[in-house]
């Protein structure tokens, strides 16, 4: 199990194209990957390979999140996804 935190800073949040990009990348890993909105203790982690799982987290701009993974490529999965989020998905 590997996990890291970051804050979503692109205007759209994890919605529309950024959410699709995020899910597409998550699917490229063998590990199980999760994303969770922080600051809300009750929030259950969503399946990062599911567009609905990601959307249901309701992650908009300035939301702190935690990405976690479990499996053979868990470290790479978390690092790459954090990198994607931090790149603001190419938005300004």
């Amino acid at each position: 199990m590997h996990a890291k935190q970051t804050t979503v800073l692109n205007a759209t949040g994890l919605h529309a194209r950024p959410a699709s990009d995020f899910v597409t990348m998550a699917k490229s890993f063998e590990s199980k990957v999760y994303v969770k909105r922080l600051g809300d203790d009750d929030a259950k982690p969503g399946n990062a390979k599911s567009i609905l799982g990601v959307l249901a987290q309701g992650i908009s701009i300035n939301t702190p999140i935690e990405i976690s993974a479990e499996g053979p490529d868990e470290v790479e999965a978390v690092d790459k996804l954090i990198e994607l989020v931090d790149s603001k998905f190419g938005e300004d």
């Binding site: 949040g13 390979k49 599911s50």
Partner: protein, 572 residues
Amino acid sequence: MRMLKGNPISRGIALGKLYIYQAFTPDVHEAYCEAGQEHEQFHKFNQALQTAGEELDKIVVSLTADSPDKAKIFTAHKEILYDEEVADQVEEMILNSRAMPDYAVDMVFTQFAELLSQVDDPLIAARATDLLDVRNRVLRILQGEEEHNLSSLTEEVIIVAHDLLPSDTATLDREKVLGIITEVGGETSHTAIIARSYKIPAVLGVPEATKILKNDQFVVLDALEGKVLMAPDDATVEEYELKYAEFEKNEVEANKYLDKPSITASGEKFSIGLNIGSDEPNESIKFGDFIGLFRTEFLYMESDHMPTEEEQFKAYKRVLANAQGKPVTLRTLDIGGDKSLKYMVLPQEDNPFLGNRALRLCLSQPDLFKTQLRAALRASAFGELEIMFPMVGTIDDIRNAKAVVEEVKTELRSEEIPFNENIKVGIMIEIPSIALMADAAASEVDFASVGTNDLTQYTHAVDRMNADLVDYFQSMSPAMFRLLGNVFSEFNKAGKPISVCGELAGDPAGAVVLIGLGLRKLSMNGANIAHVKQTVSKFTLDEMEAIADKAKAKATQEEVVDFLEEQIAKHE
């Protein structure tokens, strides 16, 4: 030869095959399969997913070239269809709980839709509708029903439906629609307005049409007389082919007036405006003097999210560019009643037409209202834009709405965003209470425009959507003309521009009376411009004033209509 009757609301004739359009409504019950059958059921689910994916692929391909925005909606649907979490949960329900596939699909999709609709971000909450749309697609396939969709018609057809909703007409492929037949809907229903603006012959209010008529059946649609002729014999088909040619010829005759000036037989000039409902270029603008009604609902109804200020600003700028320097009257959001939005749940009301709609809704949702006003004001720097509020009932309404405009102006000033400081602000007159206060209203606004459809509905207390009540919907009643006469004379007295943008202005006989009552600005659908110019050009102003006086003095609408027909026949 059997015949069905209805109300001809968009003139024309069509001969062709029928396409019965029925929106699928799922009927799912909690059900489980016998032990040992779960793998077979799971296979059925996977097959349905595959078929749904193929359907969506086809739609995306057919839309990509011409309507990339609409194509995107269906691409998003595919993403939902192949969602891992959904698939896992459905699999779990079928294989472990032995749920029947339709029950499992319904449960899982509905749960996710509820989850999404609770998310704070409205953009995400809006996706719940897409989820239900995909759910219905899979359920329909599981239940072995064919797809019905107006966006992917493969041949020219006459559409038969119970009713067409704004979401149906948004994706309507108008090139392939020869005619429209519906079971419900009056003269001014949504379907009627769309049919007329697309010049599609339509007969509405044909009871049980979707049950009596069959797919692929050949019919003659007579939208001049309001008839559907089933299994027509050769002689009838021939007769109607001639009538069709004759109708087209008359259209050509009227069309000669299109680019002539709008002028009475005695030489008085009047202005012709155009009603529009989108930001697409409209070829009729060159035949008119102004855009008297720019409906903004399309922005809200064709989008899967609340349109942003930037999206609205761009659309309004496009409309101003298309208007080629002519003034454009933008009507702020007019929903409630017969219209609703995917991403915003409006409370169910017993009487939506008397409820929280249009300006009332905007005043109760300041964010929604201010976003639109900001976009409109910003656009006002790029052309002659006017702002008009629908559903005004009192002077308070006018003052409250103007106060929000002032607030937004102050915001823009402090942000140093350019807009037209002298932008004209006006109202729709469509509620009798404000029509009776026309003198006071005229001193509060820069202009007004009468929406005769709603004004008729509220004056005669008659639901304009109810096909059984068409006889009660009397937009040419003496009562209407008396009320309109008062409005025109008060605004003329105050020197404030007054126009009519309702259906009555686009009716040649109606236009004659309106001009006789003192109106000089008539705004209408492009399809009506030629006929109105043609008819009015044959009457002198004195004649029209005399006709208006007599119309006001008649006892019934029937007497008015007969009298007007007589007068128009005299001048032909």
